[in-house]
Structure formats: structure tokens, C-alpha cells
């Protein structure tokens, strides 16, 4: 009960912020929240279950495109479109994950890298279904019971998304399944000897986090009411990886800190040093890995420990 109150309180506090921000800061805030949601689920995939995949951002795009296509081309009602969109993500994820369990280590990264590129090719060549290179625009979130959620109220929806993502992953992490994931990451042979089905654990972790990314993508689709191929480009997959590393892989708080920091970095640096900010980003990345292998959350741990 107390836990529930705490979650609801957090949701209200995080949503309330949106009502005190101007349009610009609200926009930055909600795109930041979406990155946080993505970083959280990616952290579960990469940090906790140890799978290096570059398809996470592609699933974000699959979710976004699915919901728009299902709503406005197939003319389905919103709840059906959302459920079918998740089904699409799950099916694609299973299609990649099941054969990939035979692969070791970094090979999953390659399959998913190819998948992410293939996704962009399909978007570009999708004709009127995907809108080709121009993408899909000129749609609006359908009204729910006669109300159209917009502005800061939509930010509240994103807050709920982030918290649901966090809650699901938090519970999972503390469950038998979370321990199985960590065991598989650290030592698959030992995990297998303890009775953990390594392949199934990997497939479930991959599919679940990919579906969460797809869900975030569905929410993104109505932030700017625009989906187009360049939004879901490959470089974002690397940015996501960096966010989790810089924050501290394997820790929810780390993913949040990393996402906030790296997302906001160009906004802060660009006015100060102009287009040198990309160079600074690279240097920071190398420095973070060299000097602080456990990420920023590692510094926090050390400070608290001493």
C-alpha cells in the first residue's frame, strides 16, 4: 500500500513539473522521459541480462510506425492498435531472439545491427504504407471518451509509461527471473547447472524489453505527430548503449542518470562551444569508460560507502 502511494506520488510530482514548464522545456522534458524509458529497458537487456543488442531503438520505431499504421490506415480503435502493435514487436523480437540464442557473445549484436539497418530500408521502401522517406505526418491522437490528451497532459502519459516500465523491470529484477538473468550474464554454464534454462531466459528478456521499447515508441508517435526514417537511425542505438554505460550498467538508477546526462549534454554544450559538442561527447565517453568503469552510479556508491 505504502509502495503504491509512493509510485503514485512520484507520478504526480513528475507530471506536475510539466505544467510549470514552457512549451520548449516541456518538449525537451518529454523526449528526455522517453529516452529514460528506453534506457531503463535497455539496461535490463544489456546491463542485467548481458545481451549486447543494437535493435532496441529499431523496436522503438517499430512500435511508433505500427501504432500509426494500425490507427490511421487500418482504422482500428486505439486499444486494439496498441495491443496489435505490441504483438508486432513481440513477433519480430521472437523471430530474432529464438535463432539468436545459438549465437555467442557479440554475434547477437551483429544480427540486431543488421535488423536495425534492414528496418530503415523497409521504411524507405514501404511506399504509401510507411510513407517512404517522408514518413507519416498529419495525424492526431484519437480522442479518448471525447477528450484529446495534449500538451502537459500528454507529458503525464509519458510519466506513467516511464514509471510502468520502471515498476515492471524493478519487480522482474527482484524476482526469480531477474536472478536467472544475472546468472546467465555472469556464467551461463553455472546457471544452466543450477537448472536455469539459459536459452529461454535470454529469449524472454529480449522479447520483453523489446516490447517495452515498442510501447515507448507508440507514445513517441504522438509527441510530434510525425514518424520518419531518420528519427530511428542507427546512431541512436549507440547513444542508448553509451547512456547505460555512463550511468552504470545493471542499475536502474544508472540508466536514468545516464539517459538524463547524455540527452541533455548537447543542449548545454552547444550554446557554450558550438558544434564542438560532438567532440566533447566522444572524449567524455572514452574518459568515462577509462576512469569510471562502473559509471556515475559507481561514484555515488563509493561516496556513500566511504
Amino acid at each position: 500500500m505504502i509502495a503504491l502511494v509512493r509510485w503514485v506520488g512520484t507520478a504526480i510530482a513528475l507530471s506536475a513539473v510539466a505544467f510549470f514548464l514552457g512549451d520548449y522545456y516541456n518538449d525537451v522534458y518529454r523526449k528526455l522521459l522517453l529516452w529514460v524509458a528506453l534506457a531503463l529497458s535497455y539496461n535490463f537487456l544489456f546491463g542485467i541480462s548481458g545481451q549486447v543488442a543494437f535493435s532496441h531503438f529499431a523496436f522503438y520505431g517499430i512500435g511508433a510506425y505500427s501504432v500509426v499504421i494500425l490507427l490511421f490506415q487500418a482504422q482500428l480503435p486505439l486499444p486494439v492498435a496498441i495491443i496489435l502493435g505490441v504483438v508486432v514487436c513481440v513477433v519480430v523480437a521472437l523471430g530474432v531472439a529464438i535463432p539468436s540464442t545459438r549465437l555467442e557473445g557479440f554475434y547477437l549484436a551483429l544480427v540486431t545491427l543488421a535488423l536495425a539497418q534492414l528496418f530503415i530500408v523497409v521504411l524507405n521502401e514501404g511506399g504509401t504504407v510507411t510513407g517512404g522517406t517522408g514518413g507519416l505526418v498529419d495525424y492526431r491522437l484519437p480522442t479518448i471518451l471525447g477528450v484529446r490528451i495534449a500538451g502537459p497532459w500528454y507529458t503525464a502519459v509519458i510519466v506513467v509509461l516511464v514509471l510502468v516500465t520502471l515498476a515492471v523491470l524493478w519487480r522482474l529484477d527482484r524476482s526469480w527471473f531477474g536472478r536467472a538473468c544475472r546468472a546467465v550474464r555472469d556464467n551461463p554454464e553455472a546457471a544452466s547447472a543450477m537448472g536455469v534454462d539459459v536459452a529461454r531466459t535470454k529469449v524472454i528478456a529480449f522479447t520483453l524489453t523489446s516490447a517495452l521499447a515498442g510501447l515507448a515508441g507508440m507514445v513517441y508517435a504522438f509527441v510530434d505527430n510525425t514518424v520518419s526514417p531518420p528519427i530511428f537511425g542507427l546512431e541512436n542505438a549507440f547513444l542508448l548503449l553509451f547512456m547505460v554505460i555512463v550511468g552504470g550498467a545493471g542499475r536502474h538508477a544508472g540508466a536514468i542518470v545516464g539517459a538524463v546526462l547524455l540527452y541533455l549534454l548537447p543542449f548545454v554544450l552547444s550554446p557554450l562551444i558550438g558544434h564542438h559538442h560532438a567532440l566533447v561527447f566522444g572524449v567524455l565517453m572514452v574518459a568515462a569508460i577509462l576512469l569510471q568503469p562502473r559509471g556515475i552510479i559507481g561514484i555515488y556508491d563509493r561516496l556513500r560507502g566511504s
Binding site: 549486447v52 535463432p99 539468436s100 545459438r102 549465437l103 555467442e104 557479440f106 554475434y107 551483429l110 544480427v111 545491427l113 543488421a114 535488423l115 539497418q117 534492414l118 530500408v121 523497409v122 524507405n124 521502401e125 549507440f238 548503449l241 553509451f242 554505460i245 558544434h275 564542438h276 560532438a278 567532440l279 561527447f281 566522444g282 572524449v283 567524455l284 565517453m285 572514452v286 568515462a288 569508460i289 577509462l290 568503469p293
Partner: protein, 294 residues
């Protein structure tokens, strides 16, 4: 038939470029297990070296080429010093240097972008823009030059690994790191050398390809991906695998574009699907690694 043979020359030349990048990966992966995605940016640095020395300073081609390769040895060595050695010495997990090198990728690209601006720059051909006809085989001079230079590099690499003591050291480290250290092989030096050689291989690939594609700041990542695909197809086990993988990839790409009855846009998807299939059906690549012999 004439088309077919001409395309074979073109695909062989592209395949050699992919092969050189794949070789750069392989030289580093074999002894250390580290996948260095910054090889594409190394190739870009090599290309800009060519632009500076050959286009701007107008050095004679062999001198400029030697200078670029020397410089790339240095770049590879320095990259290892900065981004890899501290992590290896600390005993960090293998992923850490891979990620640090991804960071270096950004550093290289942005440095070049700031220093040279966004416009592409011309890098000259060593033998001009002419066309060579060897019986039924015809193609630009540059294609034959690329093929020749790549064959020399691969022959040298093969001889090094098969015939020299140093090469055996590399193989030993690749097969069993700790055992190799126990018999007195200096792991640090092997790692440093493998990065220097990787830098030179990638830089050569960049210099050769830039005569066609020009030197520009976004050229690195596509090369890194093509090279890695080639490596996956060929397998990380053997030097020849890198070249074989590169050739297969280039032939698949170019013959799909030329002969497959597909809309032009979809042709780009073919090598990606090929990569996925290879990974899923034959993850060790075409050529398997040599195992330790009792």
C-alpha cells in the same frame, strides 16, 4: 559476358577494400578478442592523410603512401595506448575496451570534421583515371591497383602468421592467452603491435578507396559495417577468411544490383539479410579457426 567480367573486376576491387578493413578487425580480434569499430574512422584518417600529402602537398604517390601507412601504424599504436591498455591492465571485462573504442570513433570523426569541414576532398589516383584491358577483363587502373596492393598485404600477413616466430606468438596468444604469457610471450607488445598493424591495414583501405569515394568525414561508419560483415562471413579464425568474406559480400552486393529483378531500393537489403543468415546458420564463418594441437 563482357558485363559479367567487368563487374567481377569491380566487385573484386570492392571486396579487397572490405577485406582490408576485415583484416584490420581480425588482426586485433585474434590476439585480444577486442572488436574495434573505430577501424572505419582509421580508414577515414588514412584517406585524409592521402588528401593532405598527395593532393595538397603533391608528394609522389609511393612516398605519400608510405608516409600515410607509417602514420597509421602510429595512430593504431597510440589508440591502443590511450583507450585499450589502461583497461586491459586493470583487468576490465572485454566489453570495456570495445566501448572505449566506440568513443574513440566519435573523437576521430569529429576531429576530422572540425579540421577539414564537411565537404568531400579529392584524393588522386596513383596511375590516373585510365582503363586497363587484360583480355576480357577490363576495369579502371585503380581497381587493379587495389587488387594488387591487397594481395600483397594478405600474402605478407599470411607469411607472417605461418612462417615467422612473431606470427606464431600472435597465434599462440589467440589460442590461449594465459598459456602464451606463461611461455614468455609479451602480451602487451603483441597487443600494441596488433593495433598498429590494424591501423595500417585500415588506413591502406581508406587511402585506396578514397581515390574513388573522396575523403569525407562520414565515410568511416559504412566502411566499418561493410568490413565487419565481411569478417563475419569469412570467420575470424584465419587471415584468408577476411579476404574471402570481403569478396563474397562485394559480389553479393554488386551482382544483386546488376542482375536481381528487385526494385533498386530493396537491393540494399540483400547484404543485410545475407549477414543475418550467415550469423544464424554458420556463426563461425566460412573458415574455421585453427585449434590448439596436442
Amino acid at each position: 559476358m563482357q558485363d559479367f567480367l567487368e563487374l567481377a573486376v569491380s566487385a573484386t576491387a570492392s571486396g579487397c577494400i572490405y577485406g582490408l578493413i576485415a583484416l584490420a578487425y581480425l588482426l586485433m580480434i585474434r590476439p585480444t578478442g577486442i572488436i574495434n569499430f573505430a577501424v572505419g574512422e582509421w580508414a577515414m584518417v588514412g584517406a585524409f592523410g592521402g588528401f593532405l600529402l598527395l593532393s595538397k602537398a603533391e608528394w609522389p604517390y609511393p612516398v605519400g603512401m608510405a608516409a600515410v601507412l607509417g602514420f597509421m601504424l602510429l595512430v593504431g599504436w597510440a589508440t591502443e595506448r590511450v583507450a585499450v591498455r589502461p583497461l586491459v591492465e586493470r583487468g576490465a571485462p572485454l566489453l570495456a575496451p570495445i566501448l572505449a573504442l566506440l568513443g574513440m570513433l566519435v573523437v576521430f570523426r569529429e576531429s576530422i570534421s572540425l579540421a577539414f569541414g564537411p565537404d568531400p576532398h579529392q584524393v588522386p589516383y596513383p596511375f590516373g583515371f585510365g582503363r586497363l584491358e587484360l583480355g576480357p577483363l577490363a576495369g579502371p587502373y585503380q581497381s587493379f591497383f587495389i587488387i594488387g596492393a591487397t594481395l600483397v598485404v594478405f600474402a605478407a600477413a599470411w607469411l607472417f602468421f605461418e612462417r615467422t616466430l612473431w606470427g606464431k606468438c600472435f597465434e599462440a596468444v589467440a589460442i590461449h592467452r594465459r598459456a602464451a604469457a606463461l611461455v614468455g610471450i609479451d602480451l602487451g607488445r603483441v597487443t600494441a603491435l596488433s593495433f598498429a598493424a590494424g591501423g595500417a591495414a585500415a588506413g591502406l583501405g581508406g587511402l585506396l578507396v578514397s581515390a574513388n569515394v573522396s575523403a569525407h568525414y562520414l565515410m568511416g561508419v559504412p566502411l566499418a559495417i561493410q568490413g565487419f560483415t565481411a569478417l563475419v562471413i569469412g570467420g575470424v579464425g584465419r587471415v584468408e577468411g577476411a579476404l574471402l568474406g570481403g569478396l563474397l559480400l562485394a559480389f553479393a552486393e554488386q551482382f544483386t544490383v546488376r542482375y536481381a529483378p528487385l526494385p533498386a531500393g530493396y537491393a540494399q537489403g540483400v547484404p543485410l539479410i545475407m549477414l543475418m543468415l550467415f550469423l544464424l546458420l554458420r556463426p563461425t564463418g566460412l573458415l574455421a579457426a585453427r585449434e590448439a594441437r596436442a
